[in-house]
């Protein structure tokens, strides 16, 4: 996989050499609101799935977004690739602004940023052979001759740990872990600089999950890829991420280098989230402070004046219901007026 037969203007070699000062992905104040209900007699309301999210991802880095269902983490990933239209905000991929682009103009950008989906069963076309699936993006972007494409498919299959001789088989002949490898190979086919991974291992069995996590790490080191890793599993995230953003109800409430976040969580929600994870070891599990967070996240239709976590927060006082806390700090940023930022 060191020599790329397909000629690509922005090959990995170039991108790895380019300075890592410039973010490969820059998301600024992203909002995605969906209209919800609202008929003749009722007021039109909006689900604020993503409500002001900003972060930057640098080449070779894994930025993870963690949070519970409905926090907006998957919508954030989709909005970056324009799969759902952002309501407002700016998205830059490798310096190009992409949030306003139409389908046609967006196309070359999709070469820079690819996506891997959670469900390896529904995200692969069942009527295409595995070789065809991996080759399709090359065909769409017109990369290389048919012969070169075929060689590249074989190389990619080897890279992700699949036997190239299986290229004429169909997805249903593969197990979940192998299908996820096919998805990874397809994403790599256009030599992207950043891959958005939406819960890429959460539907896999643990022993297989570990194989795919290791594969993603290997590929990152090999090609200098950047990942946006969307997940709800805090332990997997600790393992794979360099930096982590914790999302709650459409906002990032805490962002820090992974090691710092896990050893020194500051936002009360981050703390509650971490305290809720049972430890796969009885000794440590009994040492865990088990005080489950009460309540459930409020509806994302609600409009907040103050902090969105206030009603479940053990630290909240009346000010928290009036002040919308900004995300403050340098390396370790926290959106909480009760917590001293750096």
């Amino acid at each position: 996989m060191t020599k790329m037969p397909v000629s690509a203007p922005n090959s990995f070699a170039d991108s790895a050499a380019s300075s890592s000062d410039a973010p490969i992905l820059d998301v600024r104040n992203l909002h995605v609101h969906f209209p919800s209900g609202g008929g003749v007699f009722t007021e039109r309301r909006f689900i604020r799935a993503v409500d002001g999210v900003s972060f930057r991802v640098f080449p070779g880095e894994t930025f993870a977004i963690v949070g519970e269902s409905g926090c907006g983490k998957s919508t954030t990933a989709r909005a970056i690739l324009n799969l759902v239209p952002p309501t407002s905000g700016e998205v830059y991929i490798d310096g190009h602004r992409v949030d306003r682009l139409g389908d046609e103009a967006m196309r070359p950008m999709r070469r820079l940023a690819q996506m891997i989906f959670q469900d390896p069963f529904s995200s692969l076309n069942p009527r295409m052979t595995v070789g065809g699936i991996i080759r399709e993006p090359m065909r769409i972007f017109g990369l290389g001759s048919p012969r070169e494409q075929k060689l590249e498919v074989m190389r990619l299959m080897e890279t992700v740990g699949l036997n190239p001789r299986l290229m004429n088989r169909y997805p249903h002949e593969f197990s979940g872990g192998q299908r996820q490898r096919i998805g990874v190979a397809r994403a790599l086919a256009v030599k992207p600089k950043v891959i958005l991974c939406d819960e890429p291992v959460s539907s896999l069995d643990v022993s297989i999950q570990a194989q795919v996590v290791n594969l993603l790490q290997d590929l990152q080191e090999q090609f200098g890829l950047a990942y946006v890793f969307i997940a709800h599993d805090l332990a997997v995230v600790r393992h794979i991420a360099h930096r982590v953003g914790v999302m709650y109800l459409g906002r990032i409430v805490e962002e820090a280098p992974a090691e710092q976040l896990y050893t020194d969580p500051r936002h009360p929600y981050t703390k509650a989230l971490m305290a809720a994870v049972p430890h796969p070891d009885t000794v440590r599990e009994r040492q865990r402070d088990q005080q489950p967070l009460g309540g459930e996240p409020p509806s994302p239709e609600e409009v907040f004046i103050g902090c969105r976590f206030a009603e479940r927060c053990p630290l909240a006082d009346f000010e928290c219901f009036r002040i919308d806390p900004p995300l403050e700090g340098e390396e370790h940023r926290t959106a909480c007026i009760r917590v001293e930022s750096e």
Binding site: S207, I208, N214, A235, A276, P280, E296
Partner: protein
């Protein structure tokens, strides 16, 4: 075999040599191959394993819910409090199911009827099994919902399933399962679809109910954290067989079967330490700093689980096993005693501890 207190605590359920197979286009899939287990009163027994390991099918068989055909169930006995469940007619089985043995499934959305209110669904069970009047049944249902922590239960019981969040629906399922005060609750991945904070609430709830009522629980899960949190004893299943059985502490402190160890090393942990298992290298230190190579690597189990329609002749884990020896490819290992009231099915481990253990197969 299972616990010191066995002589004191009555056994609720005994399963001996359970086999379940399905006729498929690819041949006979042997989903469960000789599972034996005992469940004590007030005990939580965890069954852990990956997809296709037979853990869910085992429990469907206990409930008499394996679809036949294509399924076929065979066992020496399935004894529930002295009553043989094997070969019980559907009619007689339905008197036990829901009344004495209740179930909670992974997905609360698909196990509730979307067209009926919670009240209609909950009262049906107690009216049928306990002979409650409409009014009694409603009062009882509201009481159950309150017990599982549903706020404003008397109002919300009039609602439909879609009006409840995932965590609340799972509470409703648990309330419904417990409304006839069953002796045994079978919970198949009850928290897998839930967020961690909600999972913590549901696990707490199940433990509380067990403390109050002494209900026995069979908990099927793939999550070793959940096992450590709630279970007393654990069965590890692989390719339709029990490969290890142990008290929960022994399982984590001293896993004997290579598959169990592999599972433990595969799981990343929140505090960055390694679980027990092999730990081939000393627990990887996670140095500070933002160096991009600092991340440790997980130790997965290489390979894929076997095809249940064409299992290897010997130990079904052998093709993926780091301890594999020539006999493993030809001998399907029996269960050996672990020495601490447990069992394991590994030839290499048994012989490592000398001929005594090896001779003492169960």
């Amino acid at each position: 075999m299972s616990s010191v207190s066995e002589s004191l605590t009555p056994t609720l359920l005994t399963v001996e040599d359970l086999h379940v197979h399905f006729k498929t286009d690819d041949g006979l899939a042997q989903a469960v191959r000789g599972v034996s287990l005992d469940l004590l009163q007030g005990e939580t027994l965890g069954i852990v394993g990956e997809s296709g390991s037979g853990k869910s099918v085992t429990n469907l068989a206990l409930m008499g819910l394996v679809p036949k055909p294509p399924g076929h169930v065979k066992a020496k006995r399935i004894d529930y409090r002295g009553q043989e469940l094997l070969g019980l007619s559907q009619r007689r089985f339905s008197r036990i199911r829901g009344r004495k043995i209740a179930m909670v499934f992974q997905d609360p959305m698909t196990s509730l009827n979307p067209f009926l209110t919670i009240a209609e669904q909950m009262t049906e069970v107690t009216r049928r099994h306990l002979g409650h009047s409409r009014k009694e049944a409603l009062a009882h249902a509201i009481e159950m919902l309150e017990r599982v922590g549903i706020p404003a239960a008397s109002r919300r019981i009039r609602g439909y399933p879609h009006e409840f969040s995932g965590g609340m629906r799972q509470r409703v399922m648990i309330a419904m399962a417990l409304s006839c005060d069953p002796d045994l609750l079978i919970a198949d991945e009850p928290t897998t679809a839930l967020d961690v904070t909600v999972q913590a609430q549901v696990l707490e709830l199940m433990k509380d109910l067990q403390r109050q009522r002494g209900t026995s629980i069979i908990l099927i899960t793939h999550d070793l954290g959940v096992i450590a949190n709630i279970c007393h004893r654990v069965l590890v299943m692989y390719a339709g067989r029990i490969v290890e059985e142990a008290e929960v502490d022994s399982l984590f402190a001293n896993p004997r079967h290579p598959y169990t160890r592999g599972l433990l090393t595969s799981v990343p942990t929140l505090d960055g330490t390694e679980s027990s298992g092999y730990a081939p290298s000393p627990p990887a230190p996670l140095p500070e700093g933002e160096g991009r190579t600092r991340r440790s690597r997980l130790t997965p189990i290489e390979g894929q689980p076997p095809d249940m329609a064409s299992l290897p002749p010997g130990c079904s884990f052998a093709p993926r096993c780091p301890l594999r020896q020539p006999p493993c490819d030809t001998t399907d290992p029996p269960l050996f005693p672990r020495g601490d009231y447990g069992r394991h099915a590994c030839l290499v481990e048994a012989h490592r501890n000398g001929p005594v253990e090896a001779a003492k197969e169960l």
